[in-house]
């Protein structure tokens, strides 16, 4: 029962924090670029506005177009509930492991890609094609990182991995772990559609990836897409944080521990988000056909991590 409550709490927390994280990152970036920027809660306001607007769908779109935001949202919430953000006990331990998380996130991507194709527009198809290409290439890196992380513990169970890290922090700071972290970080950028793989703020159609897919959404559909996307970034950053900075995650379902866990989680998110936003100031988007090179690099990092974990451990 407590596990269920924790899961719901996690989902609510992630859902609540995600737009704030986006707002925070925009603010950091604006500050670094010397702009005033919006306020922290601006994304929340955008969502509220969108939810009130009339949803318009393209004439040729079918049921997939309307279903995609729901699927995207559902997968994001499910992952948010299942992954160990607040407690290593694994709120839904035994339901989903790291591979399932990867799979669920991919399912969300697929839903959006199909929606992009369903619009029948050139941009929708273009975005879908690019997004799926990137997703296909990210997959090996993600699973190799999973491999490197799981060999240490002998399980792909996220809770177990985080708990092991928390219990023995020294084990986290191994070469294998560092390499895995680097690989996973690049994969996160690609999955979440951040620079240098994709520019979330672009308004030039030809360079769009994620945005091209969702061009035709409006109203509450768009709100769901935006919200879910923000949650995905939160989820990924949160995972990165708890896997490689395992302190502060509650090891028991005690409310106080959970509260501390939540606070630490938010702080970690802020730090990582700030770093990411700061980094994005200094890089430009890669040409689409240079992206595979970046992903190949991350793949090599992942492979090295695995080999290191096998040989050095």
């Amino acid at each position: 029962m407590i596990a269920w409550i924790t899961a719901v709490a996690q989902a609510v927390l992630v859902a609540a924090v995600a737009p704030l994280l986006i707002g925070f990152m925009r603010a950091v970036r604006a500050r670094l670029e010397g702009r005033a920027g919006g306020r922290l809660v601006q994304p929340w306001r955008d969502l509220r506005k969108l939810l009130r607007k009339e949803p318009i769908i393209p004439a040729d779109a079918g049921m997939i177009f309307t279903a995609a935001p729901l699927v995207l949202m559902a997968t994001s919430v499910l992952v948010a509930a299942a992954a160990p953000y607040l407690s290593t006990g694994g709120p839904l331990s035994g339901v989903a492991d790291l591979i399932v998380v990867v799979g669920l996130l991919l399912l969300g991507t697929v839903a959006l890609a199909l929606a992009g194709l369903d619009t029948g527009t050139a941009f929708g198809g273009m975005g879908a094609s690019r997004e799926m290409t990137i997703a296909a290439l990210v997959e090996p890196t993600l699973l190799l990182a999973v491999f490197a992380l799981s060999t240490r513990v002998g399980s792909t169970d996220l809770g177990a991995i985080v708990a092991a890290g928390a219990a023995d922090p020294a084990a986290v700071f191994t070469p294998a772990s560092a390499l895995a972290a680097a690989a996973l970080a690049i994969a996160t950028l690609a999955e979440a559609g951040r620079l240098p793989v994709d520019n979330p703020a672009t308004h030039l159609e030809l360079t769009m990836v994620h945005e091209a897919m969702v061009l035709e959404y409006a109203g509450r559909d768009l709100a769901l897409v935006e919200w879910a996307s923000a949650m995905r970034l939160t989820i990924l950053l949160g995972l990165l944080a708890n896997l490689f900075i395992p302190w502060g995650v509650a090891s028991s379902p005690h409310p106080a521990a959970l509260a501390v866990g939540a606070a630490v989680f938010v702080v970690k998110l802020a730090v990582l988000g700030g770093l990411l936003a700061a980094g994005e100031v200094f890089v430009a988007k890669l040409r689409l056909f240079r992206v595979p090179e970046l992903l190949a690099g991350s793949f090599v990092l992942g492979l090295l991590a695995v080999v290191a974990s096998a040989v050095l451990a």
Binding site: A59, T133, P140, G154, F289
Partner: protein, 672 residues
């Protein structure tokens, strides 16, 4: 005579009756009779399989059938698994056939093509039920010849079908001979041709014999399974056969290649040396990668599905290889999981590939084309088919909560298992395998997004697609059955756990890999669990919940012309096609796929600097076929032409041959 024997007897009898009836009844009722017979044979086979996987074995010997050998049948849990698989697919295809192949249907209504169908299924049931080398080979060859007749069903109007039939005939016969020599060698070395005798002698065979036998059998079985580079028949035959036949071949027949490897490698030879499994793993890796890359760039829907079969077979082989390697290393728990992953994936693939090929058949029937570039817009015209195809695609893309995901998860668990004492080769091979599985999964997702997105969604890109209508109820019913099976395997794979445990236990691993599974899938020896049911319920429940919530708070949707950055008005010509969708992936894997591109620029007569028209052509031939098989075919043809010089028609030359032979015999007598 227990229930397995009874069910098998019913299956074979029904096949005979069905074939005769399919031959005799007039064209109007033919598809109904043949379809019903096929479904009946399948149901009886599945019943036999169900009994066998529940622990009821059966052995029988019919000495008067098959001269010089007799027919020996032996059904254990492993055989039962494949009987169940073949039978299940046949039930679906039988129901589908009634609507598909009938009058007004798209499929062939010829006597042969329909009468052979139940016999083909019976032959596929005979293969796993066989208990001796001769019986196995009989089933194998019957299966080959019946499927060949079915592939050729549309020979009259399709030159491609004839070519496909020829490729299939030649390759399947070559594979048969490899298996024949291998198994006959094994029987000779073991001193008996019944599986029981071989099993008893198997582990004592010399490594040369067992290695040779394994290589020969592997060549034949891997070719039947469509493993790259022994695959060229597969994309041709699966694409050109009528779709219900493609479904049977791709979902069921190909699996019997897998069955052969398990039966010979694990059971009869009793495991083996490490290099066997590394070789098998190499087959798996190459098949998975090459298959999915070709599928990703294919624009022919059935060719895409066919190459995807190669990919899935690659994953299954990878699982088997892992099982062999882990057994060799003494890691029995991981070996059991790997074996379970392979077998479960075989079943999952059977489920979703039946569905997908039947779906492709419905599309073909409705539009007359398999070219994804010419399709589109079917989701509004054929909503039920689209929904069913989506279920299949979800499974094929190995995404949760589809059924393919569970077996790929198991496979990954087996590959992620770490055993430092297993040696360096395995330590390096395992992550490579994981990376390959992951890349395969990623590209596979892109492939099925392409198939679904460009084939079914958005606007129709041809008048044929525009005029498509929904399939008749019989076809939808067949596909519905397959979809139900997929859903069942997706949310409750644990129902298969006792069967898989029994199979793994029977193969000397002595382990029950999925022992503790209930709602969750729990592994013995590996501390990972998932709960497919809760994942499925979670995704669907949350999505439905959000839909309700959004509708409650928001306003009603309105349709309007697509914005498309203000570009409009849109035409179907502006859509992304399958070709354009796959273009980035094709560019990334340019070196592997080696597309052939031609750009022809024509100039007006006035000036060479002006351009009148540009013509761009791109072809993506199967590179392995072009580089490996075409030269072989050319060489054989050259030998054939050169050999005409042996028979010039000169009587003197012929006499000289004889004189030379006489002198040789005399000289041999003198020298001795």
């Amino acid at each position: 005579m227990n229930e397995v024997a009874a069910a098998l007897a019913v299956a074979f009898a029904l096949a005979g009756v069905g074939a005769a009836a399919g031959w005799a009844v007039p064209a109007r009722g033919r598809s109904t009779v043949a379809g019903a017979a096929t479904a009946g044979v399948g149901a009886a086979g599945a019943a036999a399989g169900l009994a066998a996987v529940s622990g009821t074995g059966w052995q029988g010997h019919l000495p008067d059938l098959l001269p010089l050998a007799g027919v020996t049948l032996s059904v254990d849990a492993l055989a039962g698994w494949f009987l169940l698989l073949v039978g299940g697919v046949a039930v679906v295809v039988g129901v589908y056939t009634v609507g598909y192949a009938g009058r007004g249907g798209h499929g062939p209504a010829s006597r042969t093509a329909l009468a052979v169908l139940p016999v083909f299924v019976a032959a596929m049931l005979l293969v796993p039920a066989a208990g001796s080398v001769s019986t196995f080979l009989l089933g194998w060859e019957l299966m080959a010849v019946t499927s060949l007749l079915l592939v050729l069903a549309e020979h009259r109007h399709s030159p491609a079908a004839r070519t496909a039939g020829l490729w299939y005939a030649a390759m399947t016969q070559a594979g048969f001979v490899a298996v024949l020599v291998g198994l006959a060698w094994l029987a000779a070395a073991a001193g008996g041709e019944s599986f029981a005798a071989i099993r008893a002698a198997g582990p004592e065979l010399s490594p040369v014999v067992s290695g040779g036998v394994f290589l020969l059998c592997l060549a034949g079985f891997a070719s039947k399974a469509g493993a790259v580079p022994l695959h060229p028949w597969l994309p041709r035959a699966h694409a050109e056969a009528p779709s219900h036949v493609s479904a049977l071949m791709s979902a069921a027949m190909v699996k019997l290649g897998v069955y052969g490897i398990v039966r010979v490698g694990f059971d009869l030879l009793g495991g083996g040396q490490r290099w066997w499994w590394l070789l098998l793993g190499a087959f798996g890796v190459v098949s998975a990668l090459y298959g999915i890359l070709q599928a990703a760039v294919a624009t022919d829907l059935k060719r895409l599905l066919a190459f995807s079969t190669s990919e899935n077979v690659g994953l299954i082989l990878l699982g088997l290889a892992a099982a062999g390697l882990w057994t060799d290393a003494g890691e029995h728990a991981a070996a059991g999981v790997a074996l379970a992953a392979a077998l479960l994936h075989a079943a999952n693939h059977a489920g979703f590939k039946t569905l997908l090929f039947c779906g492709a058949g419905s599309v073909l029937r409705a539009t007359g084309t398999r070219d994804l570039d010419e399709l589109g817009g079917l989701s509004r015209r054929m909503p039920a088919t689209t929904l069913l195809f989506t279920v299949g695609a979800l499974g094929a893309a190995a995404l949760p909560p589809g059924n393919g995901f569970v077996s790929e998860w198991l496979l990954l668990q087996a590959l992620l298992h770490r055993a430092p004492e297993a040696g360096m080769v395995v330590t390096v091979a395992a992550p490579v395998a994981v990376a390959v599985v992951a890349l395969t999964a990623g590209v596979g997702v892109a492939t099925y997004v392409k198939a679904l997105g460009t084939g079914f969604l958005a606007r129709p890109r041809s008048s044929a697609a525009e005029q498509a209508v929904e399939s008749p109820r019989g076809m939808l019913a067949g596909m519905g059955l397959a979809a139900l099976a997929c859903a069942g395997l997706a949310v409750a794979p644990a129902v298969a756990a006792p069967a898989l445990d029994r199979i793994a236990g029977g193969l000397r691993t002595g382990i029950a890999p999925l022992g503790g599974s209930g709602v969750d899938v729990r592994l013995s020896g590996i501390a990972s669990t998932i709960s497919p049911l809760w994942i499925g319920v979670g995704v669907v429940g949350l999505a439905v919940g959000f839909a309700g919530a959004a509708r409650a708070v928001g306003r009603a949707r309105r349709r309007a012309a697509a914005w498309d950055c203000g570009d409009g008005p849109l035409t179907a010509r502006m859509e992304y096609t399958a070709t354009s969708f796959a273009e980035p992936l094709q560019r990334v894997f340019d070196n592997v796929l080696a597309p052939e591109q031609d750009v022809d620029v024509t100039h007006p007569s006035e000036s060479a600097y002006l351009v009148r028209s540009v013509q761009y052509r791109r072809r993506l031939p199967d590179r392995i076929e072009a580089r490996l098989y075409q030269p072989m075919v050319t060489a054989v043809d050259r030998v054939g032409r050169a050999a005409r010089g042996l028979a010039t028609g000169s009587v003197h030359r012929y006499l000289a041959y004889m004189l030379a032979a006489l002198i040789a015999v005399l000289v041999a007598g003198v020298i001795r």
